[in-house]
């Protein structure tokens, strides 16, 4: 074994000082001096001196530690004669590493300071590309970031301010159709959202907001855009993509996916209150199947085909119901129009009430009043309203001489100024009736001439209190019980102006119902009109009530349902229900689905019910036959009606929209940003 290279004794080996910054320059040559450089990096060896000038000679000043004065002394020119034996100290590894660290830190600091200086475009700080839709804005950071505005301190933006709503305002500059309450959940104001939740055909416990979503909610439950939409993830990033779990972060009812746990559709459209009472089940199973089908326009096959009545809209999303003419008219038109119904009198020369006090000749009292045998005994309600000009529930329908004169004045006035005379008599609250009155006016003008030829003179004489002139009697044709025409009809036989509903969608009846239905049960409703309504409901159409028979207005309402509006008023549903009346939380397009199996596709989801009991339960009960067999209107208008269709089952949907087709995300069918009705 050779001698080891190292010797450990104190004479041969001094301390190593790895923490020092400098090492002897001769170390790499293998001959470092024992003392090493000073801490400042100077070699400790001082073999040379700095000669001191004394007079004109130089003196060696070498320290005794390094040998003292040298024998030769300084050169004549004042330089030291000795060779410089010092080394150039080298940096230790530790110092080199520290310098490398300082250099690295300095470069990084410099780069960062340059990046953050005002003269550097802010786009250099961008963390990534924006989506292609926003790419045009990419060069302008302030388009989206409040923090990007000039003189907006980076540090204060980083740690002091909360910019989410201010930034969201910037989003709205382009995205203006978010809704009225863009920071509210679903962009719908809180109270409206609550209402919608109540209206949703689901049990009340679902879809309640569970709590603060995402921590990005300020007071008042405000959600900034950035809560869900994060940019700067590249050109093809989908900003609107959110996972099902993220949607559920707000909702109380939480579930795994569409097929497992999503709330059932709660009997849609089975329990959805349709606008037109049409029980698919009864019709298809009972009526259409009957041998003696009364339809005049459609054959049996057409009747049972869904597409006969339901067509897609232009956009292909919704199924619209065709109008009456193309659907129900084939069977029901005749029901509406073909009943012998003499019509409802709006104006009648009624028989005057016997007054024992009066003994005078009637003619001298009230002049011409061409009553016939068939004349009505009481004034029709509308006439009473017009003649009295007062809706304070007079209800008196008996004709008196005073009323006759008022009637004649009315007629003259109408002849003079037209329907204005009638409109004056109707209070503001009955302005809906003006449409009817416009149609009545010309007829009144006609009868004022035909039945009251000397009207002008008579009234003039009455006004002057002079004796009334004589006028020849007006001819009285035979009274026809059933007017030959529909609509307005002047019936000379009983001296009435009658109206007989024309057909489906009769305008007069419609206007009347639009007026009356909202006022059911209210005090402001005119008694006369209620009686008119009752009269219209009177099957005999004689103007006399309490007679059984087919009804006109009731027939409207036997197919058209009523609904309560958002503000509580009742209204008649004249049209079929169209989606879009509500907030568009859900979107559904029929056309991709109907393509699958065109012939039977409707029945896949919309099954016709067969259960007879169910059918009976859901009869319309807006009118109920009383003990006399008369239809009486019911104050309760929220009777459940049914379309006769079974509920669309979620399982039907889930049979395609499930994990294997990966088309079962929340956003597949639901919208977050819901635009108002």
């Amino acid at each position: 074994m050779t001698d080891p290279l190292q010797q450990f004794d104190w004479k041969s080996s001094s301390y190593e000082r790895p923490g020092d910054a400098w090492v002897c320059g001769r170390a790499c040559a293998g001959a470092p001096c024992r003392l090493g450089p000073s801490a400042d990096g100077e070699c400790s060896v001082r073999s040379q001196c700095t000669p001191e000038k004394i007079g004109d000679r130089y003196r060696c000043t070498r320290s005794v530690l390094y040998g003292g004065k040298c024998a030769d002394g300084p050169n004549p020119d004042g330089t030291c004669c000795q060779a410089d034996e010092s080394c150039q100290p080298a940096m230790s590894l530790m110092k080199r590493r520290k310098i490398a660290g300082v250099i690295c830190a300095s470069i990084s600091l410099a780069v960062c300071l340059i990046l953050f200086s005002d003269s550097t475009p802010l786009t250099l700080v961008s963390p990534g590309k924006v989506t292609s839709a926003h790419a045009a804005l990419e060069a302008n950071c302030t388009a989206c970031h409040v923090a990007g505005e000039a003189h907006s301190g980076l540090l204060s933006n980083a740690f002091l301010s909360r910019n989410s709503l201010a930034d969201s305002e910037k989003c709205l500059k382009c995205h203006q159709d978010i809704g009225d309450a863009p920071w509210a959940p679903h962009s719908v104001a809180g109270h409206l959202l609550a209402e919608s939740t109540a209206n949703a055909a689901v049990s009340s416990n679902s879809f309640g907001v569970s709590g603060k979503p995402g921590g990005y909610v300020h007071s008042g439950q405000q959600l900034a855009c950035a809560t869900c939409h994060q940019e700067h993830h590249g050109r093809s990033f989908d900003l609107a993509e959110l996972s099902d779990q993220q949607c559920q972060t707000c909702h109380k009812t939480q579930f795994d996916d569409f097929a497992h746990g999503h709330p059932e559709f709660e009997n849609f459209p089975h329990e959805t209150r349709p606008n037109i009472y049409f029980d698919h089940a009864r019709h298809i199973n009972a009526y259409f199947a009957a041998v003696d089908l009364p339809s005049q326009t459609l054959d049996k096959d057409s009747l049972t085909a869904c597409s006969t009545c339901h067509q897609q809209d232009a956009a292909g999303g919704m199924m619209l119901t065709a109008d009456f003419q193309h659907t129900c008219a084939g069977c029901h038109e005749s029901q509406i129009v073909d009943l012998p119904f003499p019509g409802v009198p709006f104006f009648a020369v009624t028989q005057v009430a016997e007054d024992s006090d009066t003994e005078q000749d009637e003619v001298s009292v009230y002049g011409q009043w061409p009553v016939t045998e068939s004349s009505l005994r009481q004034m029709p309600p509308v006439m009473s309203l017009l003649v009295h000009g007062d809706t304070a529930g007079i209800g008196s329908l008996s004709m008196t001489p005073e009323l006759i004169w008022q009637c004649k004045e009315l007629l003259l006035r109408v002849r003079n100024v037209g329907e204005v005379a009638l409109a004056e008599r109707v209070p503001e609250s009955h302005s809906l009736l003006h449409g009817i009155l416009c149609e009545l006016a010309p007829l009144l003008i006609t009868v004022s001439s035909s039945w009251f030829p000397g009207l002008r003179d008579e009234l003039a004489a009455h006004t002057a209190e002079q004796p009334l002139p004589n006028f020849p009697d007006v001819a009285t044709p035979e009274h026809q019980a059933m007017p030959p025409v529909r609509g307005w009809y002047i019936s000379d036989g009983d001296r009435t102006i009658r109206y007989r509903p024309v057909a489906h969608a009769d305008p007069v009846l419609r206007r009347l119902l639009d007026y009356l239905v909202p006022r059911i049960g209210q005090e402001s409703v005119s008694t006369e009109l209620v009686e008119l309504f009752t009269a219209l409901s009177n099957p005999s159409g004689s103007g006399e009530i309490h007679r059984s028979g087919p009804l006109a207005t009731g027939r409207c309402l036997s197919c058209h349902t009523t609904s309560t509006d958002r503000d509580g008023t009742l209204r008649v549903n004249w049209n079929t229900k169209v989606l879009g009346d509500y907030f568009a939380f859900t979107r559904f397009r029929h056309d991709p689905h109907t393509q699958i199996d065109v012939a039977n596709s409707c029945l896949t989801c919309h099954q016709i019910l067969n259960d007879q009991q169910q059918l009976d339960f859901y009869r319309p009960e807006y009118f109920r036959r009383d003990e006399l067999g008369l239809w009486q209107p019911q104050p309760e208008t929220s009777c459940p009606l049914t379309s006769g269709l079974g509920p669309v089952k979620r399982s039907h949907c889930a049979s395609c929209h499930n994990e294997s087709t990966a088309s079962h995300g929340c956003l597949e069918c639901h919208n977050y940003h819901v635009h108002g009705p």
Binding site: L5, A27, L115, V125, A158, Q246
Partner: protein
């Protein structure tokens, strides 16, 4: 099971468990629209600062701040944990912005050099112990000089013997530069003994031209070559053990600076 093995298993288990927990927490936060990236970013900042503080602890060796070995264990395992946290924070996607790219590059480089350092510090010391005399790296040039002088003295010959021209030639051609300074760094890093064998063969080849005395001199020379080669090995391996830190530590400074800028820009523009 030794203490070290137990420690390793505990550390790795903790890292795995924490990674899984963090992944689950991230998922939960994402589902709740809580933007976990920000929170994870802060976790990463704390991790980076903690890892960087090891350097500080080394400077404060005089204070009772806990054993450096314990700190190193924490440094290693927290460093390993930083990788899944980094992946979660970036969403396993390469970042798009300038600052972010530089920060990511710095982080990954520091991380990889850390892993490299871990391997080196565990693999090299036993190899050093097995070969050659245990010398302090800073003194190796001194020992090389001693060996060089010894070799040159052998070649120059004993006082009363003529030196061998063959050996002088071999020395000048092959050994002179060999004995100047530490050599064959790369070969030693890859544990190749080719240079050593080549030199020894060069010496051995002269055997047929030498007399007995010169043969003895040649053996002495060969012994010097072996020892010098061992010193080179020590030098190369010990240098590796120091050089890897030249990447790991200075880049950490840069990483800290860039992390701060990234934090400031992210927090300023994150619309919270």
């Amino acid at each position: 099971m030794t203490h070290f093995v137990r420690r390793r298993i505990t550390g790795l288990t903790l890292v795995v468990v924490l990674s899984l927990l963090l992944t689950a927490a991230t998922r939960l936060m994402e589902d709740n629209l809580l933007r976990p990236r920000t929170w994870l970013g802060w976790v990463l900042v704390v991790i980076v600062l903690f890892l960087a503080s090891y350097r500080l602890r080394k400077q404060l060796a005089m204070l009772p701040l806990g054993a450096s070995a314990a700190w190193l264990q924490c440094h290693i395992y927290v460093g390993l944990l930083s990788a899944p946290v980094f992946l979660l924070h970036t969403g396993a996607r390469w970042p798009g912005g300038g600052i972010e790219v530089v920060t990511a590059v710095l982080f990954l480089t520091v991380f990889c050099t850390g892993i490299l350092g871990l391997f080196l510090t565990r693999m090299i010391p036993p190899r050093l112990t097995d070969r050659g005399e245990e010398v302090i790296r800073e003194r190796i040039p001194v020992f090389i000089r001693i060996l060089r002088e010894e070799a040159e003295a052998s070649v120059a010959g004993a006082k009363n013997a003529a030196p061998s021209e063959v050996l002088s030639d071999v020395y000048l051609n092959h050994l002179h530069s060999f004995f100047q300074r530490p050599k064959n760094f790369v070969s030693h890093v890859f544990h190749s003994t080719k240079p050593r064998t080549a030199l020894l063969n060069a010496l051995d080849d002269t055997r047929r031209f030498l007399n007995t005395q010169h043969e003895q001199t040649m053996e002495q020379l060969a012994a010097c070559v072996r020892r010098k080669d061992d010193l080179d090995y020590q030098y190369a391996m010990q240098s590796l053990l120091k050089y890897w830190l030249f990447l790991h530590v200075p880049l950490t400074w840069g990483l800290v600076v860039f992390t701060c800028s990234h934090v400031v820009t992210a927090m300023a523009f994150t619309s919270r």
